[in-house]
């Protein structure tokens, strides 16, 4: 009997202990990631034929295949990380990365199954007749399928986009169908009531990678030439338009975030979102170009002082006093100029946050998706700031930007 009681007591104690220990739960979880990557620990070879790894020495990359044949792999280095060009590792099998300093490293490649660089994507025509859109396009390349593409229709005289991807479709697009006309040629048909200005076809895996997308203006039934034929429009290739040509701001931002250092200065990539939407594009562009040298200064007072110099903005209160000392006729112009310069500085502060977020992404502390969302928010904030007509509206935009910054910073991965 005594034994039974002892067992009973132990059992009770155990149940209580387990319940108490398990009761906590709901901890923060997450974390991890970040930190410096040790040599070759991240080596990988993927189905787009890309080989990547981190290695201190940024010298020529040579690999040998299973037959012992050696070749130089083209690619680029960024912060000690090598990323080969697409379609560099075509055949499946084991390869050895030659390294006389730190030792050879073996890597297994799955073989090429898809590549943005080998893909041909070209719109041929777009026609909208009685609420029906018909689009012809060419698609060819290893592993390509029209089902994997993203289709975007831009509404006329509006920035609104109707989209169709593998995972979602705008409710306005009805009876969306793609049929194969002949080898590599496809026809898309859909019902869409609003008038469409342009259509864009892109591959979600290729945003920013070799600019694999195509755009074309949609013809209406009434747009016919003298002979009664529909006026032809030419396709706009992503290779020519680069990051600035994407219809969706999120794609433009993502494209710029993925740019390699040597591509970043290309004019088409640099064209700022804010200037795109402004009537005084040239003046806007000049301001952006002028402040570029300020990125060479450390973040903080030195950088802001540089921006003020470029904007020709001295101490606001002194400039204001100088304006107010002028004749009534000149006073308002002077104050208006001062306001514009101050607005420029305020918008630069938002721009600066974008750059800081990008640096955190490069350090591996934020994901590309998180930074894309934030940069889009900042760009939209600048556009809203330009449209705002009252101090209260402008203040609300700055405070909203602060909220977005705090939300993003709460996602920063802290090194262990």
């Amino acid at each position: 009997m005594r034994k039974i009681l002892v067992y009973f007591a132990v059992l009770l104690f155990s149940i209580a202990f387990v319940l108490a220990a398990g009761g906590g739960g709901g901890g923060s979880g997450g974390g991890g990631g970040g930190g410096s990557v040790s040599r070759y620990s991240d080596i990988k070879c993927i189905d787009t034929g890309v080989l990547s790894f981190t290695r201190g020495a940024e010298n020529e990359v040579r690999v040998t295949d299973s037959n012992g044949q050696e070749k130089i792999i083209p690619g680029s280095w960024r912060n000690g990380k090598f990323t080969s060009d697409e379609a560099s590792m075509v055949k499946a099998g084991k390869y050895v990365v030659k390294d006389s300093k730190y030792g050879d490293k073996e890597v297994s490649c799955p073989g090429l199954t898809f590549s943005c660089t080998l893909m041909t994507l070209q719109l041929q025509e777009c026609r909208q007749v009685q609420g029906k859109v018909k689009v012809g396009f060419i698609l060819k390349g290893i592993g390509t399928s029209p089902e994997d593409l993203e289709y975007q229709f831009k509404q006329q005289d509006s920035s609104r986009l109707f989209k169709r991807s593998k995972t979602s479709i705008s409710s306005e697009l009805k009876n969306f169908q793609i049929t194969k006309t002949s080898d590599d040629i496809f026809t898309l048909e859909t019902e869409l009531a609003p008038a469409i200005e342009k259509i864009q076809v892109s591959h979600p895996r290729c945003v920013g990678e070799y600019y694999a997308y195509s755009k074309i203006t949609c013809q209406k039934e009434e747009s016919k030439d003298e002979e009664g034929k529909a006026a032809a429009t030419s396709e706009e290739s992503g290779k020519k338009l680069k990051c600035s040509g994407y219809l969706d701001i999120a794609d433009r931002v993502k494209c710029r975030l993925r740019l390699r250092d040597e591509q970043a200065d290309e004019y088409e990539n640099f064209f700022p979102e804010e200037c795109k939407a402004r009537d005084d594009q040239e003046a806007c562009l000049q301001v952006y170009k002028a402040v570029q040298e300020c990125w060479d200064f450390p973040n903080g007072a030195a950088r802001i002082a540089c921006v003020k110099r470029q904007l020709k903005l001295k101490e606001i209160l002194i400039e204001q006093a100088n304006c107010n000392a002028l004749d009534a006729g000149k006073r308002e112009n002077c104050n208006q100029e001062l306001r514009e310069k101050a607005y420029g500085l305020i918008k630069f502060r938002l721009y600066n946050l974008e750059e800081e977020a990008e640096e955190l992404m490069e350090e591996g502390k934020l994901s590309e998706g998180e930074v894309t969302v934030f940069v889009v928010t900042m760009e939209e904030s600048k556009l809203a700031f330009n449209k705002a007509t009252t101090k209260e509206e402008r203040r609300a935009i700055i405070l909203q930007a602060r909220k977005a910054w705090i939300k993003l910073m709460k996602k920063v991965k802290v090194e262990a």
Binding site: F8, A9, G26, L345, I398, K410
Partner: protein, 61 residues
Amino acid sequence: MKIAAMLVIAILLFAIVMVTGCVESKDVSKQSSASEPSDEEVLAQYPDDLDAALEELEMVE
């Protein structure tokens, strides 16, 4: 008699462990809510410099 005493001790032990466990659970939940930094703490670690923007706006408007 002995049996009853042991039973009482067991029940008491059960109660003590349960109470301690609950207190610990509360501490853990407090810790997890404390692990989320406040907005002020976030701004202290990652300043956004937007107070200056608000001041600049105030001055020119």
